[in-house]
């Protein structure tokens, strides 16, 4: 589904991704963990080209990430959820979800509204359709953001630390929605610090540090038999 080959990224002189190689299969849930500054968010943002990579190749669903037309096409297939939600504050919840399907997929308002209502039901916010984002809690906003991304019917969902900006009591409501998605067979790439989620839902865990993939494996393997010293060190600090 996603193939990443020898991807390098520089911010000026700073070498943040140093040759990333990995494949993400259909229906796979990949969790990327690592210390801050390890390049995990940058890698995620490269997958839908919000960040331009300097070298290498990323192919999503058979389409190489080159040229404006391809990039827009891939972005319609790849949903993204941000740490800070990034809902459109001047629109209602419903309008937030309907905008892109109507403008990009060119579906009618009626169809878009139906999709939006169905998705709000799915994330448990049917009664908030006419609220504005500022009237919602962080957890609710993030669930709307997930619904908004899903409205494009993406083949892959990227999550960039989706619970890091949330109060602790709201983390689970967002993780629950993500678990449901994973169980439905959505291909997901999740950057997170939620190790419980990684263990329970992840098919594979990737550990990154200093711009490299240090180690990857199934959650059980990864959390119990880490091979690399750096991984053990990291895990000992957070578990």
């Amino acid at each position: 589904m996603i193939s990443i080959k020898q991807v390098h990224k520089y911010f000026g002189k700073l070498h943040v991704l140093k040759g990333i190689d990995t494949e993400i299969k259909e229906k796979e849930v990949v969790v990327i963990i690592g210390p801050s500054g390890s390049g995990k968010s940058t890698l995620l943002r490269c997958i839908n080209y919000l960040e331009q990579y300097s070298q290498g190749e990323i192919i999503v669903d058979g389409i190489p990430l080159t040229g404006e037309a391809n990039i827009n096409k891939i972005r319609t297939e790849v949903g993204m959820v941000f740490q800070r939600f990034n809902l459109f504050p001047h629109m209602t919840v419903l309008a937030n979800i309907m905008l892109s399907p109507m403008k990009v997929r060119k579906i009618t308002r009626i169809e878009a509204e139906k999709i939006a209502h169905d998705l709000l039901k799915k994330v448990g916010l049917s009664d908030k359709d006419n609220a504005y984002p500022e009237q919602l809690s962080g957890g609710q906003q993030q669930r709307v953001a997930i619904a908004r991304a899903l409205a494009m019917r993406p083949k892959v969902m990227l999550f960039d630390e989706p619970t890091s900006a949330l109060d602790p009591e709201m983390i689970n409501e967002v993780l629950d929605v993500m678990k449901t998605l994973a169980n439905e067979g959505m291909t997901m790439v999740v950057v997170t610090h939620e190790m419980g989620f990684a263990r329970e839902v992840g098919d594979r865990v990737i550990f990154m540090d200093e711009g490299r993939i240090i180690e990857e494996g199934t959650p059980t393997d990864f959390f119990t038999n880490a091979r690399e010293e750096r991984t053990k060190n990291f895990l000992s600090k957070i578990l």
Binding site: N86, S100, V104
Partner: protein, 221 residues
Amino acid sequence: MEFNFGLIAQSFPLLLAGAVVTIQITALSVGFGLLIGMFAGMGRISKLWFVRFISTVYVDFIRGTPLLVQIFLIYFALPMIVGTRINPFVAAITACSINSGAYIAEIFRAGIQSIDKGQMEAGRSLGMSWGQTMYYVILPQAFKRIIPPLGNEFIAMLKDSSLVSVIGFEELTRRGQLIIARTYGAFEIWMTVAVIYLVMTLTISRLVDYLERRYKIDDKH
């Protein structure tokens, strides 16, 4: 010297008609200026260097030269190139619109840049183009923030529009000049002209205050 109230009463309708023309030029110029300024403002932050270059040259040239000279350029110099005379109204509106556009471009640029970068990223990640995201997401939010500086620009333009009197266009200031040429009532007429400008500018600034307060109350909607 005697203050001639009769002269004021007599000239008032003529001056008021001039004030209406002043408001027309201002509204038209700021209207066109908004369009020009919106594109030039986006151009100033474009990723394409030549778009950025052209927008910057435009803004720098207009802001770096006097409006009076710009009016002369359009009314006297441009006809020498195109070979026909330009009517004073068209020249006045053109000069003022181009002038206003440059100042409004900077207002738009600042307004757009004040919107969180995450908004553009969210729009793009949903598959919308840069233009679509600008139109549906960024500009509606930026518009609310730029109402106060736009109001100031409107007031500045209203006052600066008096400069088009030099090409014989009969707005408020020119009307005053013409009446004085006939009646020699410089004191009465200039005082009246000044008061009419003041009433107009104060009215507009109160209106802008009101709009600003209204949008603050329902900030995000």
